[in-house]
């Protein structure tokens, strides 16, 4: 149970960070400033394509060589947020790209300023059409937090606990199935909630 809580906690915190970071990166990517756009695109390409294990290992084992030493928990958290942040930004960009140019022109034509247009037209539409991808991302973030099993973490996360039980005692089949069911149930619940929200806010075009 402790392990499930660790997994949930990691997931929630990592997703929150990933979302904020993803929004920030997206703002950079749509900004009129070329260097920011470049940085945002670059970030997304790096973290969308790097394997989670690779990133975690670099954070845990390679960064100390740069005199950057973080706790295992911090490393897992960073790895499990940087990668989903890239995907988050991709989904938000897709949401923004789905907005027809006419919506922007209509907002301008009734005299909305740039800030009003962003707040009232662009952000709501982009967010609403990103509900399902973001739900999937939340599940993906949870699966990414299984990375925590690769470092000694106390209390251990769900995958780490199963690995631990199985290395130290026989009869881990049960442990495996229980934890798999717990992951799965969480994923299904998240998915259902996502579907519900999506049905409520989906934009008909």
């Amino acid at each position: 149970m402790q392990a499930l809580l660790t997994t949930w906690k990691l997931t929630a915190v990592a997703f929150a960070i990933a979302f904020v970071l993803g929004v920030l990166i997206t703002v950079m990517r749509v900004s009129p400033l070329k260097p920011l756009r470049f940085f945002g695109d670059f970030y997304v390409q790096i973290f969308r394509n790097i394997p989670g294990a690779c990133l975690l290992i670099i954070l845990v084992y390679a960064f100390p060589y740069l005199d950057i030493i973080w706790s295992y928990f911090t490393c897992v958290l960073i790895a499990a947020s940087l990668i989903p942040a890239a995907f988050c930004s991709e989904y938000l960009m897709t949401g923004i790209n789905a907005i027809p140019v006419g919506q922007i022109e209509a907002a301008r034509s009734i005299g909305m300023t740039f800030a009003q247009m962003i707040r009232k037209i662009v952000v709501p539409q982009a967010l609403r059409s990103s509900v399902l991808p973001l739900t999937n991302l939340l599940v993906a973030t949870m699966l990414t937090t299984a990375l925590a099993s690769q470092v000694p973490l106390r209390p251990a996360d769900l995958t780490g606990l199963v690995a631990h039980i199985n290395t130290h005692a026989v009869g881990g089949v049960t442990a495996f199935f229980i934890s798999a069911m717990l992951y799965c149930a969480t994923a299904v619940v998240i998915g259902q909630i996502g579907n519900l929200i999506d049905k409520k806010v989906r934009i008909l075009r």
Partner: protein
């Protein structure tokens, strides 16, 4: 232009020697045009003649390369809050309606009054309902745009413009995206508006509307204003070869 100046009136919309290029394409060539208060001006011409672009330059949906655009005698600002303020005074109805997809019909109409004009929400809602009634879609007020027919959407778009109490409304081919059976209901609303004295600049292919409602018809071709005059004069007795060709080509349809 000078004729109006002599009368001492300031036109609501005035374009002076406007030029615009899209790359190598010269889409607007030395356009001079003015629209008086209460006047209904209809711009016609073959597609690609620049009439839609002309319409869109007036609230700076498109920029211009040279010349001047004046609204009520004041030059069109280039950017920022001033430009937004000015756009709030000029309505625009688009070919593709462009209702805000994530809002219901009522919210579409109240957004401008509450957020741009900062009017109280309740007041804005009441007026919006009246406007929706006037264009005949009040029963749809709580639906979202995608649930309405094209004709209904375009009437809502007109209501959205009216809610801003504009000095003039620009219509950019308002019926071109509509199924034939819905064109009538939109033109009807526009005709009523014209009769109530709204200042209108209409880009359209609907010749009957031009004939019936326009105070003045402007014929554009290849980026220039080729001919302008009263509907009777233009349709019965076009002065230029190009206008005659155009009118013949649409008659054959």
């Amino acid at each position: 232009m000078s004729a109006y100046a002599a009368e001492g009136q300031v036109p609501v919309i005035e374009l002076r020697h406007v030029d615009k290029h899209f790359g190598d394409l010269h889409v607007l060539k030395d356009i001079c045009l003015s629209v008086q208060r209460g006047e209904v001006v209809v711009i016609i011409g073959p597609s690609g003649s620049g009439k839609s672009t002309l319409c869109r330059t007036i609230n700076r949906m498109e920029t211009i390369d040279a010349g001047e655009i004046l609204i009520d005698g004041v030059p069109l600002p280039e950017e920022g809050k001033d430009l937004a303020k000015l756009r709030a005074q000029i309505g625009m109805v688009f070919q593709s309606f462009n209702l805000f997809a994530h809002m219901n019909i009522l919210e579409n109409v109240t957004l401008g009054p509450t957020d741009v004009l900062k009017r109280p929400r309740k007041e804005a809602r009441e007026e919006a309902m009246q406007l929706l009634k006037r264009v005949g879609v009040e029963s749809q007020a709580h639906k979202v745009p995608a649930q309405l027919s094209g004709g209904q959407q375009q009437r809502v778009a007109i209501a959205r413009s009216l809610a801003m109490h504009p000095k003039a409304i620009l219509f950019d081919e308002p019926t071109s995206a509509l199924d034939p059976e819905m064109i009538g209901e939109v033109l009807e609303v526009m005709t009523e508006l014209a009769q109530e004295g709204m200042t209108m600049l209409v880009v359209t292919h609907e010749m009957n509307f031009a004939r019936r409602v326009a105070d003045r018809v402007i014929f554009m071709d290849d980026g220039s204003i080729v001919e302008e005059g009263t509907p009777e004069a233009f349709f019965e007795n076009p002065q230029t070869e190009r206008a005659r060709n155009f009118l013949n080509s649409i008659k054959n349809h």
